[in-house]
């Protein structure tokens, strides 16, 4: 029960006790309404610690105590907790001379909160809070906001039927209640109490878990009734305060999902308002400024309840809270905002010292410039012009970097420092201009507090390009005398500067090899000695010729440069190779925190469907993982920027099958043989297995989601043999034009089957078996998948939701009513049908004719 052992949850370091109180109050209110209305809002139960959902699910909150926990036991537990808190508190105040223990005190408090939660005795909890003025004064900050909720739920509680809901409550408190269920109940329940409860319960889940459902949450916030919105908002606001990245994502998604509304309603919608709030930068990270005030009063006041701050007195007892706040205002969100405004302005001076005055502006500016580039590229007629223009535009963008900007698709905190502009490529698209850029970033521990790295001029890389750092191949260097090319410079006026610079550069780059420091003289010595030894050296012409062909053969098969398809070469190059190359050429490359990211910038495309597909894929992936079905799919991250722009995280080490066929002029099987070796080599077999597992995975995805437009340009093959489907522009109810192509369940060409070893091979049976297992697993968790889609349908004009039967059809494709034998038959039928499908062939032919896609 006791979880004092895991207090370290760094990203959530901002004032958890205050949040706890904010959360628990409405919780109590609801809980009371269910079990014992008479207790009223006087209850101030424990805080619900966020995070660690599974451990938490056994905890019973305020109400739980009424039903389950023996009061005596609870009281005892509570006293233990208090002891612990005091102990920790004492420690922290003892050592409060240094500022560094703020965090410790904070941790102590949090632990206290956690522990208190675990035991859940309300009286104890109140005392606990009272005894900790540091906590208390923080509670005040957000309690007004929640008070509104409290009142509302309190009013409604009379109507509730306690008997019916107590079962629900048991579910909510059970171990099994996960974020997916929470979202589902939030969406389906019409009961404001339930919604409010779940709104609070959101705080208990791991951030990453909730993040996955962010599109759903926000879409509900925008398009569903007020109660749902009110339930969600505190959580969103809270998270925005914590994380700048979360703020950005919210703002972008709110904008994108509001765009389907009528323009007049859109302007006044909640979504737009929340978006403005976030963008107005009022939700600055709060943790720093809140920690500090809490420190000073704590040691002074100790446990004396009389010496509270004036703020605390307002919210002293919970009974008065609901009443006073009831008088003060009636469920007014705008007021909450203004309150927050005051708050942030009052601590602005402090705040400034910790983070930049403009939080989101640089990032938005960065995104805006990338989008502007995309728009301008779209006006150019040829790929070549686009590429050139892209490179020059990016080189200009480089002048503004490093900046307090980041790529939201990355999984870690970082600053963007440079865009290696010459590496950027324009991707294949007929009328739009998506492009792929590589972005050099420096990783940092905490984006909010880290300083933007200083700019290093481009030409500072030159010293790293010394001969030593270049890969020397083979023995040729030793065989030939003097591999360096220059004779020492005797020009005095030149030498005067260059020597200085070289020294300076080497100081800057600690990684440089020590033996490189004097390369010029070193080599001149070499050449002199070789001249002295007048013995002629002979070489065989055949050797030269052989080395040439060998070296060319050893370089991994790369694609030829094609002005009409500039991305092929860039994508074929192995990622590690590319990273190494770019790092070598970058002035920031020597820094240990240097990382390379890549991103596809799409301008003029709606990525909301892509995001939906990403979520479904991700969900399927975790279902299959959970059910131990070795299907392989690769969901790639999507950042929706607006209804017509966004970014995509590229799949590395993968090129499209179209590019493969065009460049290699081989069949897929032959290409596999070329890349991985002959049939019985291990690497070929591994690649083949990867191919089968990914193929089965994507066939299921394509079937379930009805992914269309499956030409070879939209199917990638990675270096390990996996296929990856990209471009989910046509899913569910939408398909490209209505020519009646692609009627089969999924795309399975004979070429694919050949790679699997033909229709009679073991691998092909394995493929079918995987499909069956995958389908059974997916069926078992159908709700989790359908839910994602269903919520996004709310208020959406996306083509994939066209018509009224999207969800029904989706559900039908899971075939809940079939036995496993029937399912097996179905899979057989689908595979057979797809293999024989004349339309797939036709569609490829059609694509070849219209778009030149092989």
């Amino acid at each position: 029960m006791s979880r004092s052992g895991n207090p370290a949850r760094p990203p959530r370091s901002s004032a958890p006790p205050s949040r706890g109180s904010e959360r628990c109050r409405p919780t109590t209110a609801m809980g009371d309404s269910i079990a014992d209305p008479a207790r009223g809002s006087g209850a101030e139960p424990g805080c619900v610690p966020q995070g660690n959902g599974s451990a938490l699910s056994v905890i019973t909150e305020g109400v739980g105590e009424l039903a389950v926990i023996d009061p005596e036991v609870a009281k005892k537990a509570c006293e233990e907790v208090l002891e612990k808190v005091k102990l920790m508190h004492g420690v922290s105040s003892d050592s409060s001379t240094s500022t560094g223990d703020g965090g410790e005190a904070e941790r102590g408090l949090r632990a206290a909160g956690d522990l208190a939660n675990g035991e859940l005795v309300e009286g104890c909890e109140i005392r606990c809070l009272d005894d900790l003025p540091g906590t208390a004064c923080r509670i005040q900050e957000e309690e007004d906001e929640t008070a509104a909720n409290t009142v509302k739920t309190a009013r409604k509680r009379q109507k509730n039927n306690s008997a019916k809901q107590s079962w629900l409550l048991r579910l909510f408190e059970s171990k099994l209640f996960d974020i997916s269920m929470a979202i589902s109940y939030l969406y389906n329940s019409k009961e404001p109490g339930v919604q409010a409860y779940i709104g609070n319960r959101l705080f208990c889940f791991r951030n990453e878990d909730v993040d996955f459902y962010l599109p759903q949450l926000l879409n509900m916030y925008i398009h569903m009734d007020e109660d749902v919105g009110d339930a969600i908002k505190p959580y969103i606001v809270h998270r925005c305060r914590q994380s700048i990245n979360f703020s950005l994502q919210c703002a972008l998604l709110l904008g994108a999902y509001s765009s389907d509304m009528h323009i007049s309603t859109q302007r006044h919608s909640r979504g737009t308002k929340l978006r403005k709030l976030i963008l107005s930068d009022e939700l600055k990270p709060a943790h720093k400024k809140r920690e500090l005030p809490s420190l000073s009063p704590a040691p002074d006041m100790g446990l004396s309840p009389s010496k509270r701050t004036h703020q605390r007195s307002k919210s002293d007892a919970t009974v008065t809270i609901s009443l006073s706040s009831n008088l003060k205002r009636t469920a007014s969100n705008p007021k909450v905002e203004s309150e927050e405004e005051e708050l942030s302005s009052s601590t602005e001076s402090l705040d400034n010292s910790f983070c930049s005055p403009v939080r989101l502006a640089p990032e938005r500016e960065f995104i805006k410039s990338l989008m502007a580039i995309g728009k301008r590229l779209a006006t150019l007629p040829t790929k070549e012009q686009k590429t050139q223009r892209l490179i020059s535009e990016l080189s200009l963008l480089n002048h503004k970097l490093p900046a307090r900007a980041w790529l939201p698709t990355a999984g870690f905190d970082h600053h963007v420092v440079r865009v290696p502009h010459t590496q950027a490529v324009v991707l294949n698209s007929k009328d739009k201009a998506p492009y792929l850029i590589y972005v050099e970033v420096l990783e940092c521990d905490n984006f909010d507090t880290a300083n933007v790295p200083a700019r290093i001029p481009e030409n500072r890389i030159r010293s790293t390009r010394s001969a030593e750092n270049l890969p020397e191949c083979g023995i040729t260097a030793e065989q030939r005398t003097g591999s360096f090319t220059t004779v020492p410079n005797y020009d005095n006026d030149d030498e005067a500067w260059s020597v200085d610079d070289i020294v300076e550069l080497q100081v800057e780059l600690p990684e440089i090899h020590t033996n490189s420091c004097d390369n010029i003289s070193q080599f001149s010595v070499d050449s002199i000695t070789s001249q002295e030894s007048r013995e002629p050296v002979f070489i065989a012409a055949g050797d030269i010729r052989r080395r040439l062909s060998e070296q060319l053969a050893h370089t991994p098969t790369s694609f030829k440069r094609d002005p009409e398809d500039p991305s092929a070469v860039a994508l074929k190059e192995p990622w590690q190779e590319k990273v190494r190359r770019i790092r070598e050429g970058s002035p920031y490359g020597h820094l240990p925190s240097w990382r390379l990211l890549s991103v596809i910038v799409k301008c003029g495309d709606d990525l909301r469907q892509e995001l939906l597909a990403f979520q479904v894929l991700k969900q399927l992936q975790s279902i299959w993982e959970q059910e131990r079905v070795p299907l392989w799919i690769k969901p790639y991250k999507i950042l929706v920027i607006s209804a017509d722009s966004g970014m995509i995280e590229p799949v590395v080490n993968a090129v499209s099958i179209h590019q493969i066929k065009k460049q290699s002029l081989l069949s897929l099987l032959d290409y596999f043989l070329q890349e991985h070796g002959s049939y019985n080599t291990e690497s070929f077999l591994t690649a083949q297995r990867n191919f089968v597992q990914s193929c089965a995975g994507y066939c299921l995805v394509c079937y379930l989601l009805q992914v269309k437009d499956r030409h070879n340009g939209n199917i990638l093959l990675d270096a390990d043999g996996h296929i990856i489907h990209i471009d989910f522009g046509f899913i569910l109810s939408s398909s490209p034009r209505n020519l009646g192509f692609e009627t089969s369940a999924f795309k399975l060409t004979t070429e694919f089957v050949d790679v699997m070893g033909g229709p009679d091979g073991d691998m092909f049976n394995y493929y079918k078996m995987l499909m069956l297992q995958g389908l059974i697993a997916a069926r078992k968790h159908m709700d989790k998948v359908v839910q994602i889609v269903e919520i996004m349908q709310q208020g959406s004009q996306l083509p994939c939701f066209h018509g009224s039967s999207t969800i029904r059809n989706l559900k039908e494709r899971f075939h809940m009513n079939m036995t496993e034998e029937q399912l097996q038959l179905l899979v057989e039928q689908m595979v057979d049908g797809s293999m024989r499908s004349i339309t797939t062939k036709l569609y490829d032919g059609f694509q070849y004719l219209t778009n030149g896609i092989m």
Binding site: F366, R389, P457, D491, A541, G542, I544, L548
Partner: protein
Amino acid sequence: MAQTEKKGGLLRKSSASKKPLKEKVVLMYDEIFTTEDPSKSNPRFWEELFLMKVNLEYLEGKLEALDGEELMKIKDNINCLFQHCIQALGEEHPIRVVNALQTLCALIRGVHQKNKSTSGFDIINMLVGFDKAELCMKNLMESLDSLLCAEGSESLKSLCLKLLLCLVTVTDNISQNTILEYVMINSIFEAILQILSSPLSRREHGYDAVVLLALLVNYRKYESVNPYIVKLSIVDDEATLNGMGLVIAQALSEYNRQYKDKEEEHQSGFFSALTNMVGSMFIADADEKISVQTNEAILLALYEAVHLNRNFITVLAQSHPEMGLMTTPASPIPTTPVTPLGTTPPSSDVISSAELPLDADVQTSNLLITFLKYSSIVMQDTKDEHRLHSGKLCLIILTCIAEDQYANAFLHDDNMNFRVNLHRMPMRHRKKAADKNLPCRPLVCAVLDLMVEFIVTHMMKEFPMDLYIRCIQIVHKLLCYQKKCRVRLHYTWRELWSALINLLKFLMSNETVLLAKHNIFTLALMVVNLFNMFITYGDTFLPTPSSYDELYYEIIRMHQNFDNLYSMVLRISTNAGQWKEPASKVTHALVNIRAIINHFNPKIESYAAVNHISQLSEDQVLEVVRSNYDTLTLKLQDGLDQYERYSEQHKEAAFFKELQIQVYLNYLWPKLE
């Protein structure tokens, strides 16, 4: 000048009504040109003087009429005038400042005009007076510096630069202009940089600033420590360097555009009138000659930047839209001091402040491309002195570029592909290549193309030996980089090989004529060593194994030339004489080529004999080559991939002195007139 014209108009008007009346300012000038102190009669004389509009013509004419001795007589008044001018520069009223600047201009030029032969010190004495010179000039430079840096009017800054240019160019040899010693001591370098770093002032004064800088750098560059050289070499502010690059690129592309217009005019007489008109709109005095006259001043600036400043190399690759098409935006966009991205102020908004124009036709370009095009035009015709100098300077700049690691990195960058339209001389035996079909390639291909083009087109009686040597050196340096960094450039090396072989052929057939003037063996040795480079190190930089075969094929095919060359150098090296040594070097260098020829020729002959073929096809020869590599042994030659770095001080000093005088001659005098 506009001012004088205006004044003329005024005069005419007044003269129509009355008897010719002297302007007040002219009367005051007359007072100065007496031995009397003018402020004696009128204590407010100097104050009044600078309120009057300057009559440059009169003042300069008056000064020019006096010779040294006469000037010495009125030295006190001249000194006085000079000092008061400097005083007036500090005044608030812009009219006074403008007048003072113009008066100074006239004064300096007038005094110099008549006294070309006089020593610099005497001129300083005449103008300022020795005793006060140091302080006076310090004040002058400080005033100019603050005027240039201030937020003041653009025309004022322009006048300041004109005055400085005037000061720098009063003597034909800049190093003899003693007065510049004060400009060295009181540096205005920072002011020049500031002009270049801000987009607005750069647009207005960039050209003047760059030329001024180039000239100042050339002041006694070999004799003393020139602070401008020192400072220019360490500038690392990207905004400033980019600004400088833009000014240079703009000037060069303007030249390219004019040339193109003129060329088209030649081709279609119908439009000639029109283009002439358009051309004259761009350049003030667009008579026939000037419109294609080379611009050594700007080229010199480019050279100094590339040669002295290693950071400038990055600017070469800095992309910008094609200059000719980018007319400067009418409304100068106020550069917002707001930092658009984060806490670090944007280190530069050089070009970005004016967003790249949204024009589909605009081809992105960069300074290097513009420069290559310019070079291709200039090097077409090296007959007259100016163009020879220009072409030489172009090659020197390319030499510097070819030696630079960073420059080489982007020259060879596979991702930076450009279509560079080099100008090719129309020749009888070849058609003008269609521009449209040019592939997009790394920039180094364009450099190589340019070199090949030069080699092919300059085999003439007036053999530009120096340029050829530089040209071959550039190719050699590029190859050294490729060898070192294992860059496998997909270039049609065959064109280079056949150009080089043709060059050898030309040298041999004109042996007697050329030997009278040049050491042709140095050049021949360099060419042969280029081949040696391909033969011995081909595996490190050739794109495909078959290109190595092709190299052998080409050598075998043209073996006659190598045979002839060998017999020639052998003949000369066996005779005693001044060419013995260099010729014998060539014989040694030819060892591998001769080995190849001697190895494969019998093989090919026997192949033909066995198969009963009289004439072998290329594929057949290649087949023979491929199957007989293993029995061929080559000798490793030393130092093939080593070169002497470019050095200005010892070898090029005379050239740069000459060049500076040329700049002085064709740029400044006509412009300031």
